[in-house]
């Protein structure tokens, strides 16, 4: 992989995705030792710039950078600069003046990471831009799938929920299609409109319709706080058509994988017994998250340092 930035999975090749997953496997090792650190990015500066609330993704990236011995700096939505009305570009210019090596950005406006990547010399890692992409999440999802299923070519993955507005779904769709998997999406007509077919996926309107085909069932969180009026009638109706409970799990394939990007609305998308059950690999997703993010930082930064004049030893 020879890129400055990781903005999304839409343009990544099969080789690049494979390289990232293979590298991430090596990094899992680091988190299992007593000394969970390698000196590879010693002295580099990684800024996490989270304009949307998120604890787990931010922590995961922060930990990944620290385990590579990089210095980390955190900017969040509530920081005073944004409150005072500073534009994104101006904030970025200020950060640039401090000579960072990489910025990990999560922002509610799609295209923000692309805007920064065009203007500045440091690496930009997209941690979620609006409804567009969330590449590191999809990569950790694919690593988890690969661990259990092997080669993803020819496998069938079902994504259930508000797919249209989910950057997790979108990145997964791009990545999985590149790796040769078949993707089915299921959700209410407002959340899984026919236009999803533009992404090369099959659209269904009940979770029952995916159970006998899916090797993986990925449940998405119903973001109640973001729903516009008319998107969904009630949580009850949603659960009846799309919730994954034990009864449905029994009708799925015996070795199906149950995944969720978190946090889970227990009882809405997924019954607690399913979330905690044998087929669920949700906690593995979290572990793989740190490894994937370490791999991304290593692949983007572990080469020529910016600006410096290191003479060869």
């Amino acid at each position: 992989m020879n890129r400055k930035d990781l903005l999304g999975l839409r343009d990544l090749s099969k080789d690049e995705i494979t390289e990232i997953l293979d590298t991430a496997e090596r990094f899992r090792n680091v988190s299992e030792r007593k000394i969970k650190k390698v000196p590879t990015l010693r002295g580099r500066t990684v800024v996490t710039f989270f304009m949307e609330n998120s604890t787990r993704t931010r922590m995961s990236f922060d930990l990944a950078a620290k385990r590579l011995s990089a210095d980390t700096l955190g900017f969040s939505a509530s920081s005073s600069a944004t409150k005072k009305g500073e534009t994104l570009m101006d904030t970025a210019r200020n950060i640039d003046a401090m000579k960072p090596d990489a910025i990990i950005i999560r922002h509610s406006a799609a295209g923000s990471p692309h805007m920064l990547a065009k203007e500045f010399p440091w690496s930009v890692l997209n941690a979620g831009d609006g409804i567009n992409e969330h590449p590191s999440q999809a990569l950790l999802d694919m690593l988890t799938m690969r661990d259990h299923l092997g080669d993803l070519d020819g496998k069938t993955v079902a994504i259930v929920g508000d797919v249209y507005h989910s950057r997790v779904a979108r990145s997964n769709i791009f990545g999985l299609k590149t790796m040769g998997a078949k993707v089915i999406v299921a959700g209410p007509g407002t959340m899984c409109p026919p236009s999803m077919a533009h992404l090369g996926v099959e659209v269904r309107h009940s979770i029952d319709e995916v159970l006998d085909e899916a090797d993986v069932i990925m449940m998405l969180r119903i973001q109640r706080e973001r729903l516009q009026p008319g998107m969904m009638s009630s949580v009850n109706e949603y659960s009846r058509f799309y919730g994954l409970d034990l009864e449905r799990l029994r009708r799925a394939r015996p070795d199906v994988l149950v995944m969720h990007p978190g946090p889970i609305n227990r009882g809405v998308e997924m019954a607690p017994e399913v979330a905690d059950g044998e087929r669920s690999v949700i906690m593995e997703q979290v572990t793989n998250g740190v490894a994937v993010r370490m791999a991304l930082l290593y692949l983007l930064l572990g080469g020529e340092p910016m600006g410096g004049d290191d003479h060869a030893s």
């Binding site: 293979d22 590298t23 090596r26 990094f27 090792n29 680091v30 030792r33 007593k34 000394i35 650190k37 390698v38 000196p39 590879t40 290593y298 692949l299 572990g302 080469g303 020529e304 340092p305 410096g308 290191d310 060869a312 030893s313």
Partner: protein
């Protein structure tokens, strides 16, 4: 054009025999120490030494590997990013006597990095170094405890160790003169 300071399969085999003998003499019972091959060149050497020690004493020392890619001090000099190998240490490090094994000892930086890796896994009681070939030009104060063959090279030369998977006698060590990669 290769120099005559290379080695052929027979010579490689004999050198490994001698190394194994030295290690048996100096290190004692094989259960007391472990061989850790430095990825990639040291891994097959460690295997072959372990085989020979087992053949001689009936006891096989534990083996593992360390990959030093993440600990290199030259990652930033524009080298093509190397593929990460596997570090596998299936035994407790603290209190152990370790023998690091590599194919070629050159500047010593690889061994320095390997020591750092071991350090992050635990605190060995002692670390010794066994190499098939010592080609000189040390840049750090590092020496081999068990050196197979010492050869003279120019700093710009490239020393290539080729080991067949099955000790079939097609092993060799080749010295390529510098400037002609």
């Amino acid at each position: 054009m290769t120099r005559t300071t290379g080695m052929n399969g027979v010579e490689v085999g004999r050198t490994l025999d001698r190394l194994a003998t030295q290690m048996i003499e100096q290190l004692g019972v094989p259960t007391d120490y472990s061989l850790v091959g430095i990825v990639t060149g040291g891994r097959p050497i460690a295997e072959r030494l372990a085989n020979r020690i087992e053949a001689s004493t009936g006891v096989r020392p534990a083996t593992g590997t360390v990959d030093i890619t993440l600990y290199r001090d030259d990652l930033y000099t524009g080298l093509e990013k190397p593929v990460l190998g596997e570090t596998k240490l299936p035994f407790k490090l603290t209190g152990q006597d370790i023998v690091l094994v590599d194919d070629v000892l050159f500047t010593g930086r690889t061994v320095r990095a390997a020591l750092d890796v071991l350090n992050d896994y635990g605190r060995p009681r002692s670390v010794k170094l066994a190499v098939l070939v010592d080609r000189g030009h040390r840049e750090l104060p590092i020496a081999a405890d068990f050196a197979g063959r010492t050869i003279l090279t120019e700093k710009g030369d490239k020393v290539e160790v080729v080991l067949a998977d099955d000790e079939s006698g097609t092993d060799k060590v080749v010295v390529h003169p510098g400037g002609g990669q």
